[in-house]
Amino acid sequence: MAELLGKLTAAMGTYGPAVLFYGVAGLVLASAAYAVVAKKIDHSAFSLMACFTGVAALYAMLGSDFLAVTQVIVYVGGIMILIVFGVLLTDRLPVEYRQISRETVVQGLAVAVPVMAALVWAAAGTSWPVVAEAAAAAAPPAAGGTDPGTTAAIGKLLLTDYLFPFEFASVLLLVALVGAARMARGGAK
């Protein structure tokens, strides 16, 4: 029994991360695809949410804890709520609102296939350095200590090397704010 358990744990250790990673990746892909082909707009929206959350899980597995949580806050907590709000304010459309014609499919494929081919070409010809393992081997965290995470490092970078884009992003947001007010208020008074 104990031997079996040990074997099981070892197998989990060996294959667990891969199974989990590909499982979540498959979920992300499936939900992204369903967001595109779903016949109901609300299904698209919620499927997109699953996709965003799954991407966050992938980030977490890759060691980017801050990015993962930010992804959930920004996309699920912010953008998704707004998208769903938009869906709520539309009339409920007839069930088959989305007509996917053959032309659309052909045009979509005409763009998607070359891009996919280029991505595969690049992915196949690139040597992928495995950063996480190398880093873990180089500097194992002290026993019992907690991992400091990436937040502090990101914060420091944003306020030093990337101070400029970080600050001008606020100008960008101001423009978006003015634009949103303009678009919402319209020309009439």
Partner: protein, 372 residues
């Protein structure tokens, strides 16, 4: 499943101390541990807490309305909620014919998971923390926002006008309260210099005057109050209970839910009440610290951890009781009043707290010699 995976995943990143090159092993163990913890927590901690909170609410409201409340099942009616749960289990779970079935069934699950996943970062004692996430507090906020999505899903899928109106109110309310909630939670983060809830809690040892409440005075005091109110809005509790306003919208977003799927919403609400109160108590009220100088739970082994868990539960329950007290006292706000309160009062005040906390950390604290 995904929020749990997310919790386990992020937890897995920090993990135990890894030997060099055994990242995979740690991975496997920490994911298993994370999932196991979630399961154990759900069964042993969260459900009893939620059941107790429901009982407390019914008894408290009874007292406030000069009636008795449930007192027959078990001692003082403590098992009443359990009995109700069993009853609800036996009830038929109706789905309206025009409802969007997949979404209708998925919604309670999303709400339930997000409420429960928040427990992943709630520390119970100096050595008892499900995970010790470096981004713990942000995780709570992130997962909390998933819950709103679940509620919106429920209301939309019900295909019912009251549910839809409740849903619209949820969406508007989410956008309004989330920002002050996040910013007021950032104030202790800024003063403590970490987002790890366990670490923030550990900094509040010693007397009650060391609690987060008094840091960067008065920024954290104000932030605590703001967090509490924004959390009320998050929980859709009175006076922010417009999404389920029973006098106007029947039951708002869960009008069409019955049987067990209704009780899951109910359970999730109380679970979320408890965990948000718990997080607030860890940020500002010392968490598992007793607040009595000399009684340091960190040095007392298992008993210290047990005492710490009791402290967290007690403080959180106290906040939950305040929430109930408010619910049975205050009238419901109108939609525009909620918007105005959140956008025009909570947001600027929370920003002012943040600025003051930043000034405290960067200017005042160094001037006082580092012991602010």
């Amino acid at each position: 499943m995904i929020p749990l995976l997310l919790a386990a995943g992020i937890g897995g990143v920090e993990g135990d101390a890894p030997g060099p090159g055994v990242l995979e092993t740690i991975w496997g163990i920490s994911v298993v541990r994370g999932l196991a913890w979630s399961l154990v927590a759900a069964l042993l901690v969260i459900t009893p807490m939620a059941l107790f909170a429901i009982w407390l609410e019914r008894r408290l409201s009874g007292k406030m309305q000069a009636r008795i409340g449930p007192n027959r099942v078990g001692p003082e009616g403590l098992l009443q909620t359990l009995a109700d749960g069993v009853k609800l289990l036996g009830k038929e779970s109706l789905v309206p014919t025009q409802a969007d079935r997949p979404l209708f069934h998925a919604a309670p699950a999303v709400v339930f998971m997000s409420a429960f996943a928040m427990y992943a970062v709630l520390p119970w004692g100096p050595d008892w923390a499900p995970t010790s996430l470096a981004v713990g507090l942000l995780f709570v906020l992130a997962i909390g926002s998933l819950e709103a999505i679940g509620v919106i899903m429920a209301g939309w899928a019900s295909n019912n006008k009251w549910a839809l109106l409740g849903t619209m109110r949820v969406a508007a309310q989410v956008v309004a309260y989330e920002i002050p909630l996040g910013i007021s939670a950032l104030v202790p983060v800024l003063t403590a210099g970490t987002m790890n809830v366990q670490e923030i809690t550990a900094m509040q040892g010693g007397g009650a005057w060391n609690w987060g409440l008094w840091w960067a005075f008065p920024a954290n005091l104000v932030a605590f109050v703001l967090f509490f109110w924004a959390a009320l809005a998050n929980l859709k509790r009175a006076p922010f209970d417009l999404p389920e306003a029973e006098s106007e919208l029947v039951a708002g977003f869960h009008t069409e839910y019955s049987g067990m799927s209704f009780s899951i919403f109910f359970l999730a609400e109380y679970a979320a009440m408890f965990v948000l109160s718990g997080v607030a108590s860890c940020l500002w009220l010392g968490g598992w610290n007793t607040g009595i100088p000399g009684v340091d739970v960190a040095g007392m082994g298992v008993w210290g951890n047990l005492l710490g868990a009791a402290m967290v539960a007690g403080k959180a329950m106290l906040l939950v009781a305040v929430m109930m007290w408010l619910r049975w006292t205050l009238p419901r706000l109108r939609v525009d009043q909620v918007m105005r309160l959140c956008w025009k009062f909570f947001l600027p005040i929370s920003l002012a707290c943040l600025v003051w906390a930043a000034a405290w950390v960067s200017v005042v604290k160094p001037m006082l010699g580092g012991n602010g």
